[in-house]
Amino acid sequence: MSVLLEARALYKTYGRVTALDDVFLQMRRHEILAIVGESGSGKTTLLNVLAGRIAPDAGEVVYDGAPLAALGELGLRKLQRARWGFIQQDPRAALRLDISAGGNIGERLMAAGARRYGDIRATARHWLEAVEIDSGRLDDFPKFFSGGMLQRLQIAATLVTEPELVFMDEPTGGLDVSVQARILDLIGSLVRQLGLAVVLVTHDIGVARLLADRLIVMRHGRIVETGLTDQVLDDPHHEYTQLLVSSVLPA
């Protein structure tokens, strides 16, 4: 199967801090890739560079054969809107709290070209149910939703355009453990049903183990270890990965 997303020799510095240092990676369609590491490891910078939100100082990101840098601003925005999704840790930053839940979903559909009000409303209703939000809440404002519901609404608003690749930045971050399990389960089943490719940034090794096919471990902007998720976590070779794995409290 062909390579869907590829990073070649990425570098990025912020002042004297090196956020990305010679990063290479490849992923294929339908693959779930997790990037783990502690705060400051560069994992979020990597996600943003892969998603075209930050330009690297050197190196390139290639999507489906096309370098992002060659797409131009318009081409990149089209790709981001039509074929990609991005799920942020804080759903409040991604959603509009002053328009209805249905409106948040419908807005993305309209941006992707949908025009018929009835279809948009029916699709929004369907997606609310897919993320286990009562479709009676279609006209409610998200500012009255709980944190877990907001995150599920963000997932619905992201997946409604049927992206082929979704970037996720700590999607279960900031949530209660009981709510986390539900989001994880939801992401796991939707991702596999829809055959999505996912790049998932998390500091939670348990999340990576449950969702990801492959794993990248980052430290100080470098990839220190990579491989099948279970292989890296059960037989870590690098000193830092061994520390990361042994620091997890058993559930």
Partner: protein
């Protein structure tokens, strides 16, 4: 027909957090399994039985040697194959029954067993065969007893006809009745041509399913 052919396997763990201590666990180990055959791994604790089984699955990376697995009519070397190939081999050819169930928290037992293919009727049938009552099928197994969880784990493996199946103590937390059911399932798998490798502490189970036994001994420090 040879299904699995492993040779010259060497594995050393380096524990960086314990001052770089090196543990030699496998040294030139190997085994060959044919279709319809079962090999039991035996040996004292620390002899490397689990390490060998995990290496065969690509869960542990060996330092040397090769592990050839018959996948789509070709022999694929697990030690050298790209990640994507190993994922594919595990999806189609190589099954693994661990000692403990690991699953997404809220998913019902029947859905764990049915998998993404969603064979619910087959999942119900195999769960019932393993003595998991219907009232438990729609519950997530997190609250189940150890034996029940292990039987969900076994159901997840035996719902399919794996060409090769690796089993780590499949009957460890089961009573005699359930143990006998698992023996029958393993025998049926062999009759259908599956190649099995298993760690069976219970000699009764080992004698009932293993055609031969590979004895492992700890790698001596002086060697």
């Amino acid at each position: 027909m040879i299904m699995l052919d492993a040779s010259d396997l060497t594995k050393t763990f380096t524990l960086h957090l314990q001052g770089g201590v090196r543990l030699d666990v496998l040294r030139d180990n190997g085994l060959t399994v044919r279709a319809g055959e079962c090999i039991g791994l035996s040996g004292p604790s620390g002899a490397g039985k689990s390490t060998l089984l995990r290496a065969l699955y690509g869960n542990y990376k060996v330092d040397a040697g090769e592990i050839l697995v018959r996948h789509r009519h070709e022999m694929v070397d697990i030690t050298a194959a790209p990640d994507q190939t190993i994922i594919e081999v595990r999806r189609e050819t190589l099954g693994y029954v661990s000692q403990f169930l690991r699953a997404v928290p809220r998913v019902a037992a029947v859905d764990i067993v049915a998998g993404i293919a969603g064979h619910r009727a087959a999942a119900v049938a195999i769960l019932e065969r393993l003595g998991i009552p219907p009232r438990l099928h729609s519950l997530p197994p997190a609250t189940f007893s150890g034996g029940e969880q292990q039987r969900v784990n076994l159901a997840r493996a035996f719902i399919r006809d794996w060409p090769i199946l690796l089993l780590d103590e499949p009957t460890a937390s089961l009573d005699a009745g359930n143990r006998d059911i698992v023996i029958t399932l393993m025998r049926e798998a062999k009759a259908k041509g599956a190649a099995l490798v298993g760690i069976f502490h219970d000699p009764f189970v080992r004698d009932a399913v293993a055609d031969s036994v590979l004895h492992l001994s700890p790698v001596s420090a002086a060697a």
